[in-house]
């Protein structure tokens, strides 16, 4: 039974490794990301839009909330702060700044904070803001300084620091050059310590002129193409959320590799995971008395002597063909090593050679790392242009990490796409599609059926066109994860019941029926005979159930111990059925918790084999 435990544990390990592969990579990441929302609380921010549009302040709060909740799910270890400037009241750690209101100090976001931000939304939210903070003088310099203090008060190592200014005023100090200067100084101080400052400028009558003041405040855009500053101010919540999200997620390469085109021609590239399956987070163990988290320590020790075993005291083993094969831990790693990490260009193939069903893993994204090898971006760009022009993909061999076996991948060119609001929808680069090996295909024996007639096909086409919709990859929330967090939220905030989660991947049957009208029946009349009911179970299955049913449902099945031994000897245990094996386990006194056949067999072999 020890083996089974080992089995399950190792399975976990494997999963962890996998995770690591997807998010960690060779590139070492230490420290946490941090994000400060610095929000203008001046009167202008509270002016309602036309036709009952939400005020800029309201929009900002909604955007902040969505970042909070998404961070809680995706990366709750990140630190966030919410600071208002241009307030009447002041509240900051040492109360040394006037008109700066630190609503949330730099910390991990939690349920309380989401509620706090909720309270600031809508009309009531505006009132609450007016009561607690009010609108007053503006000194962006002080506000920035206050934020700088928030950063420096953090004892943790911060890996990425970002500050977003939400405002609709392009001249916050009304032309006061001293204050302007102070703000600039403070902004450059912040930038010097590695804080990236972004401007989320909002709509104001007459347009928002970035060049008057904010040009000097924000960090220069990374690509120097000034794409960042040409942006029109936001006037829609969706746009704002999109912009915030685009900036808020720190791109992090899961690996930095060389793309080797040939001897001495290495392009530095980064691998980015753009889609990673979000899972429900694992449970943590708490001490019953205090609800404080406990740590777990795992020790490996010798069963007989009880002494702790060092890594050098253990080896690894596998059993094949009744023989245990033992290897050193190092050897186990060495077996997996084929070459150093990197991408090796094998050749090019036309796009139609990339088959839809050659899918074994989510794709990753490839982008040049000009900072590692100068000239990479240019060569990469040339390769991208030509591959996309000629409609070919590059076939490469990919070793993503040390001691990882190689996989073949297709580098599929992707051109940059920008929406009307000049926000990037798809970035320029290669999508890396992992290709299957021969072992990854399963042999199927496809059943043969007559094909449908054109009338039948045409009817289905009518159905299809009635139920058309525009698919968007970000339109479906995971109901399992959402429910989990709603539950936690309810418990954390002592709510009576968790908020309802709409299951977005549930078919809207009623609507569908309505839209289809008589079509569904018409189609059925075309393909099914009148006495056919697809809902019933296949007849064959029924029969076995009928004949097998009754009193003699479970015939006693037994094998003698001698027979068992013979089976063990000949390695033919597999021929016995699970009930027989279970019975046999009882017979020879093996206690099993397993239900899988192999587990039962292993247990019996362990007992009878030697």
């Amino acid at each position: 039974m020890a083996e089974w435990n080992a089995y399950y544990r190792n399975e976990d390990d494997e999963e962890e490794q996998e995770e690591g592969e997807q998010s960690g990579g060779d590139y070492k990441i230490t420290g946490r990301d941090s994000l400060v929302f610095l929000v203008d609380a001046s009167k202008e921010m509270f002016i309602k839009g036309e036709d009952g549009q939400p005020s800029n302040f309201d929009m900002t709060m909604q955007a902040v909330r969505s970042v909070y909740t998404s961070k809680i799910i995706s990366s709750h270890r990140d630190l966030m702060a919410l600071v208002f400037y241009g307030t009447e009241q002041s509240k900051n750690p040492r109360n040394s700044f006037k008109h700066v209101y630190v609503y949330h100090d730099l910390d991990e976001p939690g349920a309380k904070r989401v509620q706090d931000v909720d309270a600031l939304q809508g009309e009531k939210g505006g009132q609450l803001a007016a009561e607690t903070m009010g609108s007053g003088e503006t000194s962006l310099g002080d506000a920035l300084w206050c934020c700088a203090n928030l950063y420096s008060d953090i004892k943790l190592r911060l890996s990425h620091k970002r500050l977003m200014i939400f405002t609709c005023r392009d001249e916050p100090h009304g032309g006061n050059s001293t204050k302007d200067r102070q703000a600039r100084t403070k902004a450059s101080d912040l930038k010097e310590t590695g804080v990236v400052i972004d401007l989320m400028h909002l709509m104001k009558p007459g347009g928002f002129d970035v060049s008057i003041f904010f040009r000097d405040i924000v960090s220069p855009p990374e690509d120097e193409s000034e794409l960042g500053l040409q942006l029109e101010p936001c006037d829609k919540l969706e746009d704002l959320k999109k912009r915030v999200r685009a900036k808020e997620q720190k791109k992090r390469a899961m690996a930095r590799l060389n793309l080797c085109l040939g001897e001495g021609l290495n392009v530095a590239v980064g691998l980015y995971a753009t889609a990673v399956t979000a899972r429900k987070p694992g449970a943590i163990k708490l001490y019953r008395e205090t609800n404080e988290p406990v740590r777990s320590k795992t020790r490996t020790f010798h069963t007989q002597t009880g002494s702790l075993l060092l890594p050098s005291d253990i080896k690894k083993a596998q059993v094949y063909g009744k023989k245990q094969i033992v290897m050193e831990k190092d050897e186990v790693d060495a077996i997996k090593k084929f070459d150093d990490p990197g991408l090796l260009l094998i050749g090019f193939k036309p796009m139609e050679k990339l088959k839809l069903h050659h899918h074994v893993r989510p794709a990753v994204f490839l982008y040049p790392e000009e900072g590692e090898v100068k000239g990479s971006a240019c060569l990469f760009s040339a390769l991208l242009t030509k591959c996309s022009e000629r409609n070919v993909f590059a076939l490469c061999r990919c070793i993503s990490r040390r001691n990882y076996p190689p996989r073949f991948v297709a580098l599929v060119p992707q051109k940059e796409e920008i929406d009307e609001g000049k926000v990037q929808i798809t970035p320029p680069g290669f999508n890396v599609i992992f290709l299957p090996y021969a072992d990854d295909f399963r042999t199927l024996d496809p059943p043969q059926f007559p094909t449908a007639s054109q009338t039948q096909v045409d009817k289905m086409k009518e159905i299809i066109s009635k139920l058309r919709f525009r698919y968007r990859s970000d339109a479906f929330e995971n109901p399992v994860i959402q429910q989990h967090y709603r539950n936690l939220e309810a418990l954390a905030l002592d709510m009576m019941a968790p908020e309802d989660v709409e299951d977005l991947i549930m078919p809207k049957a009623e609507q569908m029926d309505h839209r289809l009208g008589p079509l569904a029946q018409e189609f059925k009349d075309l393909v099914y005979p009148s006495d056919y009911n697809p809902e019933t179970k296949p007849a064959a299955k029924r029969k076995t159930a009928d004949t097998g049913g009754g009193a003699e449902k479970k015939p006693k099945v037994e094998v003698s111990e001698d027979e068992l031994r013979a089976h063990v000897q000949n390695g033919t245990m597999g021929k016995l059925t699970v009930p027989v094996l279970k019975e046999a386990c009882k017979q020879v006194g093996v206690r099993t918790t397993g239900t899988k056949k192999q587990e039962l067999i292993d247990a019996l072999i362990a007992r009878l084999g030697s």
Binding site: D223, E224, K349, P436, F441, T451, Y485, L516
Partner: protein, 730 residues
């Protein structure tokens, strides 16, 4: 596909070890060795694939005779080496060590009869799907064709199939050399021609094979070489596809009975490494134990029973018992393949495929009506270039997914292919700088044409003379190299214990490289690329900015700017520390006190120099005339004082503070001085540091007395109390 039923086969390997098997031309491997390799490779595959198939080994041409038919000097020199059972390492070791060329010859037809007898006896009462005999021989022994027809009749009746493995190809003499079906030319043994016995035997063999299977009988006659080549790969672990019966639903009234099969999935090795004790190699000797402890200084251990389950909601810890969790968790109706709607195929992007499998959906087996209905869906989707967006749930316990079902129409079947798609939570919408709008990265025309010719030279798919496209490298035909290497090493360790692991097999290595044609063809274009695209490794040095750059931006920073004038060069060396990165190299402007302490501690710079850097910063801060900057200055002075005391060096601090005090009135820093007085930051006295020239009393008076004096007396003589002087003093 009889799903759920076990496919079991029984196989007798029947190998000729007689003396003629050792004959070989100069420089050629004797047939015996080749035949042994075939057997070895085959058994290896069986062992690692962990098939339940059973096999037996019969040798003929042995000195001894060991078979149940050996009576009356019949069936001599035939030995049943191993009875029908699952292959294991024992057998591999025996093949390695116990099978040698021997000096007798035996009739291969006799051997065949022994094998048939063995199969019949040992498979009695059990059910097998396939009975097979593989004969490895050079057909050199004389054999009598007397009972040939009886033998064939028996083979047919028992349903036993036959395979021949020979040192030479047989089709050749019929169809003339260069047979397309056989890959490697020049088999050893063909050169010297066949003996009379061999020719007779070949005829008999052909007769048998063609009688058993008129059309393809001869396809089961192989050469040793080909067999080795085909067997060199370890066979993948074969998994029987599991049928997943379900209903495809469109709305509430339209449903089609379907069945799904995993078609493509990332296969992993089933076995995992167990941990064993290094000495005894017993896994029972190793035990792992997990204990829980509080996060306090004593790491107080806590019983597992005293722990409860909780979750993190951001920073909140929420106790959440398993029972509650199960009660509140998302539940659904189980197994499901429900269409949400239909979308244009091109809106589902290939790179957004999630999960690690592709499921093929067919109509339920034997249900023709379902077949027609599904065919209508598949064809309609195909003609509209649409896909179905579906909700998929494997069963009640598993989480539901969203995915796309693509139509797939093949020559001999139709199906839907289901692939998982992302949830909102899975997506990370990164933006990357544009490559096109950036002039620095825009490739020139000549650069682009260099890439063009590289692509030309490296195209893996080409049209041959018949206008047919040929793919040089089908990666999906390559076996997973990780498995191959894994088994190679395991096998080596099992049969040659105590020796280091072998190098990777050369064919495997070659399979992971560029095809040779390509690497030759791309040489010139690559050289051209190298010339056209200069690539330089960026030296890994942290980018540091000088204070001059920073303060240069703001022309109105008083004093600090002026201070620069003279010692411009020196300034350049004072790099502003990037504290956040933990690499303090000088006293920066953000946290000067912390930097100062760090630098002192690190002792990488002389004490005097660090102090000078600090005072430089203090002067800059004071130049701003703002309370916040004053506070910061004070913490700097405090740090200066503390460190000076620690270092036992009072001189620098004292003289700085004294000169600072003198400059107060001139610079209008009275407010600052008041703060300093409030905090009682004074000179360092003798009591604190031996070398100080200031008494305790003097130190105490330093703040108080001057304060009074200030009110009455005029400012001291040093009216040029600029901090340039202060710096000079140090």
């Amino acid at each position: 596909m009889k799903s759920g039923k076990r496919f079991l086969s029984a196989l007798v390997l029947c190998m000729d070890v007689g003396f003629s098997m050792s004959n070989s031309g100069p420089g050629e491997e004797p047939p015996f060795e080749l035949a042994k390799k075939v057997i070895q490779k085959f058994v290896q595959r069986q062992v690692f694939a962990e098939t339940k198939d059973e096999l037996a080994l019969v040798l003929f041409g042995t000195e001894d005779t060991k078979n149940p038919l050996a009576l009356d000097r019949q069936y001599q020199h035939i030995t049943i080496h191993r009875h029908l059972m699952v292959a294991d390492f024992e057998l591999l070791e025996e093949i390695e060590n116990q099978i040698h060329p021997e000096s007798q010859q035996a009739d291969w037809l006799d051997a065949l009869v022994v094998c048939m007898d063995l199969l019949q006896k040992e498979t009695k009462g059990k059910k097998y799907d396939r009975l097979n005999i593989a004969l490895l021989t050079d057909l050199n022994a004389q054999s009598s064709s007397d009972h040939l027809d009886v033998i064939i009749e028996n083979l047919k009746r028992a349903g036993i199939t036959l395979q021949f493995f020979l040192p030479f190809p047989v089709k050749d003499d019929e169809e003339g050399g260069g047979n397309g079906g056989r890959r490697s030319p020049g088999h050893p043994g063909t050169g010297k021609g066949l003996s009379m016995e061999q020719k007779d035997s070949v005829d008999m063999m052909k007769h048998i094979m063609l009688t058993l299977d008129e059309e393809d009988g001869l396809d089961q006659i192989h050469t040793f070489r080909n067999a080795i080549e085909q067997l060199r790969m370890f066979k993948g672990i074969e998994r029987r596809p599991m049928a997943w019966p379900c209903q495809l639903t469109i709305g509430s009234s339209l449903s089609i009975r379907i069945v799904g099969f995993k078609a493509v999935t990332e296969e992993k090795l089933k076995k995992i490494w167990a941990t064993v004790d290094a000495q005894t190699a017993q896994k029972e000797d190793v035990k792992r134990e997990t204990v829980y402890c509080l996060d306090d200084d004593n790491e107080t251990e806590v019983q597992k029973d005293d722990t409860i389950q909780g979750f993190l909601y951001g920073s909140d810890i929420v106790p959440f018992s398993k029972v509650d969790q199960d009660q509140m968790k998302y539940t659904h109706d189980g197994k499901c393949f429900a269409v949400l709607g239909f979308a244009k195929e091109n809106t589902v992007r290939r790179h957004q495929f999630m999960g690690n499998q592709v499921i093929k959906i067919f109509a339920a087996r034997g249900d023709e009506h379902a077949g027609v209905a599904l065919s209508a869906v598949i064809r309609a989707l195909d003609e509209c270039k649409m896909v179905a967006i579906v909700r998929y749930a494997y069963d009640r316990r598993s989480n539901p997914q969203i995915g796309a079902a693509f139509p797939c129409i093949k020559r001999d079947y139709e199906c839907l292919m289901y692939v998982q798609l992302p949830f909102t939570e899975d997506l990370r919408q990164f933006t990357f700088p544009s490559l096109e709008n950036n002039k620095k990265f825009t490739p020139s025309e000549t650069q682009l044409s260099a890439v063009d010719s590289l692509i030309d030279s490296m195209m893996l798919v080409e049209e041959d003379e018949n206008g047919e496209k040929r793919d040089m490298l089908k990666v999906h035909h390559i076996p997973n190299p990780a498995f191959q290497r894994h088994f190679q090493c395991l096998h080596h360790r099992a049969v040659c214990p105590g020796t280091p692991l072998p190098p990777m097999e050369s064919w495997l290595k070659a399979a992971l490289e560029r095809p040779e044609v390509i690497s030759e063809r791309c040489q010139a274009p690559l050289e051209e690329m190298k010339k056209k695209f200069p690539l330089t490794q960026v030296e890994k040095k942290k980018k540091l900015k000088t204070s001059a750059q920073i303060f240069g931006k703001d022309s109105e920073v008083p004093d600090a700017k002026k201070a620069k004038g003279d010692d411009e060069e020196e300034e350049e060396e004072y790099n502003l520390a990037d504290i956040a990165e933990g690499s303090v190299t000088s006293v920066g402007s953000v946290n000067p006190d912390r930097d100062f302490c760090t630098l002192i501690k690190r002792k990488s710079l002389p004490f005097g120099e660090v102090c000078q850097q600090l005072t430089h910063r203090i002067e800059q801060l004071l130049g701003n005339k703002n309370t916040h900057y004053y506070m910061k200055s004070i913490t700097c002075i405090q740090a200066f004082r503390e460190q000076s005391v620690k270092q036992g060096n009072a001189e620098l601090y004292n003289s700085y503070l004294q000169s600072l005090k003198r400059s107060i009135p001139n610079r209008g820093l009275e407010v600052f001085w008041d703060l300093l007085v409030q905090d009682a930051i004074t000179l360092i006295s003798k009591d604190e540091v031996d070398g100080s020239f200031v008494s305790k009393n003097e130190a105490n008076q330093f703040l108080v007395a001057e304060e009074k004096k200030e009110e009455t007396t005029a400012p001291p003589a040093e009216d040029t109390g600029d901090f340039d002087d202060l710096l000079d003093m140090m």
